[in-house]
């Protein structure tokens, strides 16, 4: 635990960690929605690069999960 200021009996950096992790959870949900969105878009309009767009969306999701795990361990 990083030592710092106290706020309502709680370490402020602990609160900050909770907020950052909550944000990252929301971001993971968002990246999941992006995958679904790209799948829908590719169903609606296929211009021959659906595979690349899917890879980008899945890579984005994996990156979001990685950042969450990394932040959880580091903070």
């Amino acid at each position: 635990m990083i030592q710092g200021f106290e706020f309502a009996g709680l370490n402020i950096w602990f609160l900050a960690k909770i907020i950052v992790l909550l944000f990252l959870i929301i971001y993971i949900v968002f990246s999941g929605v992006v995958i679904k969105q790209i799948i829908n878009m590719n169903e609606t309009l296929d211009v021959g690069i659906s595979f690349i767009m899917n890879i980008i969306a899945i890579g984005h999701f994996c990156f979001a999960v990685f950042v969450f795990v990394f932040s959880f361990l580091l903070l």
């Binding site: 950052v20 971001y27 992006v34 609606t44 309009l45 296929d46 021959g48 690069i49 950042v67 990394f70």
Partner: protein, 262 residues
């Protein structure tokens, strides 16, 4: 007998010359009408022949009409990100008929991407300016690092969303209909289509310095369908788009006349 007839004729001529002449006049009149009718018929025939030859010429010109021949030889892969894609290959969309041919794929002009690219650039450079603020010194390095990564994730999400919005919000013109695909946000999409023969009026709107300079604008299509108006927003070469639509309408009318409707 012949003599008797001649006598009667002479009698008619002497007694009722006006009647005899009237008959003659009538016969002249009738012959005139016949000749006029013949003239009319011949002129009608000429007109039909002319129309036939014009229709044949139109057909030939339609066969020869290839407004897209200039770009048909271009590599299709290089035109995936084009905002004005003529005769695109490998383009499929929802509810596309097997025989339907995509003639034109339109996106917003690349110039419309400048504002969000500029914003993304500012977001990318923003962490450099944060170091000028004094309060950042009290933040532990772990938080600095994570906040740095989170900030660039937000930037990435912004760029991804804006790019997807540009890339997938398209207008499609096929040989049978026009489509407007609009992804308003992450979970809402709107697809509007109208048959070519439902198009009533096409208006090109091009206003402003940048639009005039870079030759892009709106094409407003008035239709007789359920959606009365379809707007192709900020598309490149709007005059060419309107011209293609006009020619497709003519072709559709010709198909109707010839009974070649699918």
């Amino acid at each position: 007998m012949i003599f008797y007839h001649k006598q009667v004729l002479c009698y008619n001529l002497l007694k009722m010359p006006e009647i005899y002449n009237a008959e003659k006049n009538d016969s002249k009149l009738i012959s005139n009408i016949h000749s006029e009718n013949d003239t009319k018929e011949s002129s009608e025939n000429d007109l039909i022949d002319t129309l036939d030859s014009e229709a044949q010429q139109n057909r030939q010109s339609k066969k020869a009409f290839q407004p897209f021949k200039f770009e048909s030889n271009a590599d299709s892969n290089s035109r995936v990100f084009s905002s004005y894609c003529i005769n695109p290959k490998n383009v499929n969309f929802y509810h596309k008929d097997s025989q339907e041919k995509v003639i034109l794929l339109l996106r917003k002009h690349p110039f419309t991407n400048i504002p969000w690219i500029f914003t993304a650039l500012l977001m990318f450079l923003a962490p450099i300016f944060v170091s000028f603020f004094g309060f950042i010194e009290i933040v532990p390095w772990e938080f600095k690092f994570v906040l740095f990564v989170v900030w660039y994730m937000i930037t990435l999400a912004f760029v991804l969303e804006e790019f997807l919005s540009w890339f997938y919000n398209v207008n499609i013109i096929t040989d049978e209909r026009i489509l407007e695909v609009d992804f308003v946000n992450l979970v809402y999409r709107e697809i509007t289509d109208a048959n070519i023969d439902q198009i009533q009026d096409v208006t090109v709107e091009m206003s402003g310095v940048w639009r005039t300079f870079f030759n892009f604008g709106d094409v407003v299509i008035q239709t007789a369908g359920e959606v009365p108006r379809i707007r192709f927003e900020a598309v490149p070469r709007p005059d060419d788009v309107a011209k293609i639509l006009r020619e497709l309408r003519l072709e559709e009318e010709q198909e109707k006349l010839e009974g070649r409707i699918r």
